[in-house]
């Protein structure tokens, strides 16, 4: 049963994953990371263990079951009933994460720009637009990623380069003054984001040349790390100890820019970047949820359930937290653990099981 006819290339998968991880990471993580890592804030993104593991799991699963994603492989490994339960857990978690992202997006836009607009209008319009795009298929989302990556990179540089003269290199000293401990504990919150790399498992089946995905994922992981290191570094070198006092330190950085009294207050530019990124991110999560749910229910196509899933997504975004403070708290506590559990540990266990079953099967065959 083919639910999606689109074919995408390995670089497109890389770009989608990049945009599915980076935008919210730039925005939300520096403040949380700073509380643990202090001036070693910029080292934390380099400890991307869960990203490496998630990519490895996704690629191994695809090697064992070519052309199938995590949920489909789960049904093969665990059997029909357990597999369905496993799929439900993964899909509900994706729905939950999608809700968190939509909420983050909404809170950011309402808090920083459209102060008088109701949250539901902001997130509702985004979910609606995403639903329309998700209905168009994975190829279209990939094309958006294709186009937005250069825009994203250009706007990002446009924000960073004017700041270079204002950076104080001394603020990063002492480097690893207390060993690697602080930067490691600062990177714990980032693991939630890196574990989202598991999403690649849902995209590989659509790759026209699956063998190239490995290389493109390596590049993507590197690009994400470089982006986070540079954004954290700029934030740190500009704001120093103030970094931890803001919800969105990088937004403050954008506000700081003043070129010839003309290019001032570029935070709207930052919003543009961020909305574009969040758009692709929501689309990817939305797509995975809708497509996975359609597979899970054995539907012939996923398009009819896109709008219902979008409605759930919007509801979820309201349910995840009563306010921004709770959301930030959840991001630095429970979500890290749930993400690591559902996106890393459970799939790793699944992979281990598959591996054991395979070995066992071989041994049986030899006997």
């Amino acid at each position: 049963m083919v639910i999606e006819n689109g074919k995408i290339s390995a670089p497109q998968i890389g770009k989608m994953i990049y945009l599915a991880v980076t935008p919210t990471a730039i925005l939300s993580t520096p403040a949380i990371t700073y509380q643990f890592a202090k001036q070693d804030l910029w080292i934390s993104p380099m400890w991307a263990f869960s990203g490496v593991i998630a990519i490895w799991i996704a690629l191994s699963i695809h090697r064992l079951f070519p052309g199938e994603n995590l949920v489909q492989a789960g049904e093969r490994i665990l059997g029909r009933k357990l597999g369905k339960v496993f799929g439900l857990v993964i899909l509900l978690y994706y729905l939950y994460l999608g809700g968190v992202i939509v909420r983050e997006y909404g809170e950011f836009v309402v808090g920083a720009f459209l102060v008088q607009t109701p949250l539901l209008v902001v997130s509702g319009s985004m979910v609606l637009v995403c639903a329309i795009v998700v209905r168009s298929g994975v190829e279209i989302i990939a094309r958006f990623a294709d186009v937005f990556i250069p825009v994203f990179a250009m706007l990002f540089l446009l924000l960073i380069i004017p700041l270079l003269p204002d950076l104080h290199i001394l603020k990063m000293l002492p480097i690893m003054g207390e060993g690697i401990g602080p930067s490691l504990s600062g990177s714990v919150v980032l693991q939630a984001w890196f574990s989202e790399f598991l999403t690649v498992s849902f995209l590989i089946p659509f790759a026209n040349r699956a063998e190239k995905v490995k290389k493109s994922m390596a590049i993507t992981l590197l690009a994400v790390i470089v982006t986070l290191v540079s954004s954290n570094l700029v934030t740190l070198l500009l704001l120093g100890e103030l970094t931890g006092n803001y919800n969105y330190p990088f937004l403050i950085v954008a506000r700081y820019i003043n070129l010839a009294d003309f290019f001032t207050h570029l935070e709207s530019l930052f919003m543009a970047i961020w909305v574009l990124g969040a758009f692709v991110k929501i689309c990817v999560f939305f797509y995975v949820t809708a497509m996975g749910a359609a597979q899970w229910m054995n539907l012939r196509e996923y398009q009819p359930i896109v709008f219902p899933v979008g409605f759930l997504l919007l509801l979820m975004s309201v349910w995840v937290a009563p306010n921004l403070q709770e959301l930030t708290h959840a991001l630095s506590t429970s979500i890290i653990f749930s993400a690591l559990t559902v996106l890393v540990c459970i799939p790793a266990a699944l992979l281990g099981l598959a591996w054991i079953r395979r070995q066992w099967g071989k041994k049986n065959l030899q006997d």
């Binding site: 290339s9 670089p11 497109q12 836009v109 720009f113 459209l114 607009t117 209008v121 902001v122 319009s125 985004m126 637009v129 329309i132 795009v133 168009s136 190829e139 279209i140 990939a142 094309r143 958006f144 294709d146 186009v147 009294d261 003309f262 001032t264 207050h265 570029l266 935070e267 709207s268 919003m271 543009a272 909305v275 574009l276 758009f279």
Partner: protein, 526 residues
């Protein structure tokens, strides 16, 4: 039998239709009939078809003073002088006693003579302007290729003028147009397949492509799409365009129409197919990408640096024409902090007196501008200037003085207007002008966010769009590096060694590498 119209009218009306249809079938049967050996019968059949057609002439005469014959032609479509001189004059001389059809053919000093043997073919030839000679005791007629009708001279197409480059344009005659193409591409690989379409107009349509360059699948697809068309008449290329495009609901054109033979030839050389239609100077090119709508032939005739710069200017102003007023509305309504302080004060002062919110102001002025543009375009030149003067006064001066709109808004509208005229193709310019309004409304509701949403929705449509199976936004999305050569910049001729991805995949090699010129080029040891 189809739907009923009105109460109780079903019976008689359907009977009448049945009768009509029967008569039609009868007529069709007659048309397919072969010519008989009896001249009078043939002439009668033709005269019955051509009743009340005063422009059809049946000229009776005797070949060699012996054999009865009739020359049928349409006055105004056939070249009468030539017919008199080269057909009638030699045929009316004395002939030897027993002459054959071959002898008659030999006597006619015309290069194109075709035998025709059915009524329908006779009709075709006559409508095409070729006089048909019918003879006693002959079940064949001779179609003599001497058509002549009034046509326009070849001149520069006013919608696509260039400073440098050929100044000829297609005209309304299909033959002339194919000749213009053939004169540029002088190879037997240039195939021009003609077909006739339209139940009443029998319009001639030619499909041109370069064999070995255009993908056979593309030619096949185009042929099958053309053959699917059933229509009563074709008066302009857009009739065909609307019946063969991929997405009939899109505001964007999925076929390129041009009046320039050099543009059509350039596309042929890249592996596209061209459809020429008799009776209109605009030809259709497929498949196309979005970017080809933003290219002008001038880009390729200027130096490539200049061509690239102009192309980027065009991209920039394309974005302005789509998003300009929305951006202004968004910034002035929601994001005032983006405006530098000094400018903000001036703007606030100019908006002080204005009773409307920026979005109302923008919608008002933009629709006013569109109205003026439309009025100016449809009026004769003398009145057109009056409209533009009044428009300039009303929009420019009076509206500001009366305190209805602010001066910056007038400026934004004017810039947007100019920007939308920068699109080299009118069709894409008008699509953009149309899409501007919904984006403006979105920006009025949600500021920059709404503008981004609008942009995403438009992009979503463009990404989905296909022109004859080729993605519309390629080579940018999906990314195809090789073809970006002709999108991000206008690469110099010696670097364009490969045809674009979309159509050139069949035969990618355009020219050999290493043709970059230089003072030492061609010397030994280079």
């Amino acid at each position: 039998m189809g739907k009923t119209n009105g109460f109780g009218s079903r019976g008689p009306r359907s009977n009448q239709r049945e009768a009509e249809r029967f008569a039609h079938q009868e007529e069709n049967r007659q048309l397919d009939q072969a010519l008989s050996a009896n001249l009078a019968e043939n002439v009668q059949a033709l005269q019955r078809l051509y009743t009340r057609c005063s422009d059809v002439i049946f000229h009776e005469f005797c070949i060699g003073n012996r054999m009865e014959a009739v020359l049928v032609y349409i006055d105004g479509l056939a070249h009468i002088e030539e017919v008199d001189q080269h057909v009638l004059a030699p045929l009316q001389q004395d002939f030897p006693m027993d002459f054959t059809l071959a002898d008659i053919r030999g006597k006619i000093a015309v290069s194109s003579i075709k035998p025709v043997d059915t009524i329908v073919k006779v009709l075709e030839e006559i409508s095409g302007g070729n006089p048909v000679l019918l003879m006693e005791r002959e079940p064949h007629g001779l179609a003599i290729g001497l058509p002549k009708w009034e046509k326009r001279a070849i001149d520069e197409p006013s919608a696509e003028s260039v400073l440098r480059g050929p100044r000829e344009g297609f005209i309304e005659s299909l033959r002339t147009n194919t000749a213009l193409l053939r004169r540029k591409i002088r190879t037997p690989h240039l195939k021009i397949v003609t077909m006739s379409m339209g139940k009443y107009t029998s319009t001639q349509i030619a499909l041109a492509y370069l064999e070995g360059v255009a993908a056979p699948s593309l030619v096949e697809e185009m042929t099958s799409r053309l053959q699917r068309i059933e229509i009563d008449g074709i008066l302009e290329s857009v009739y065909i365009e609307e019946l063969i495009e991929d997405n009939p609901f899109s505001p964007f054109p999925q076929l390129l129409s041009t009046e320039r033979p050099d543009v059509a030839s350039a596309y042929l050389l890249e592996g596209h197919v061209v459809v020429l239609i008799d009776g209109t100077p605009s030809v259709l090119i497929a498949p196309i990408t979005f970017y080809s709508l933003l290219q002008s032939p001038e880009d390729y005739y200027e130096r490539y640096v200049v061509g690239t710069a102009i192309r980027w200017l065009r991209y920039l102003f394309f974005l302005i024409s789509l998003l300009g007023p929305s951006f202004y509305v968004a910034v002035i309504t929601y994001h005032q902090e983006m405006i530098p302080n000094a400018l903000l004060i001036t703007m606030a002062r100019s908006r002080e007196q204005i009773p409307f919110p920026a979005i109302v102001e923008a919608l008002l002025m933009e629709s006013m501008f569109e109205a003026l543009r439309e009025a100016g375009a449809r009026l004769p030149k003398q009145i057109g200037t009056a409209v533009s003067i009044v428009g300039a006064l009303v929009i420019g001066q009076a509206a500001i003085a009366a305190g209805i709109v602010s001066a910056p808004m007038v400026m934004v509208v004017a810039i947007t207007g100019v920007a939308s005229f920068m699109a080299p193709r009118f069709t894409v310019g008008i699509a953009i002008r149309l899409l501007r309004f919904p984006v403006m409304v979105l920006a009025g509701f949600l500021g920059l966010l709404g503008l981004i949403m609008g942009g995403i929705l438009i992009l979503n449509h463009l990404f989905k769009l296909r022109s004859f199976g080729a993605p519309y936004m390629a080579p940018l999305a999906p990314m195809q590096w090789r073809s970006l050569n002709d999108v991000l910049w206008r690469a110099p001729r010696w670097l364009m060694t490969k045809r674009p991805h979309m159509t050139g995949a069949w035969n990618p090699r355009r020219q050999p590498h290493g043709q970059r010129p230089g003072p030492h080029k061609g010397e030994s040891g280079d």
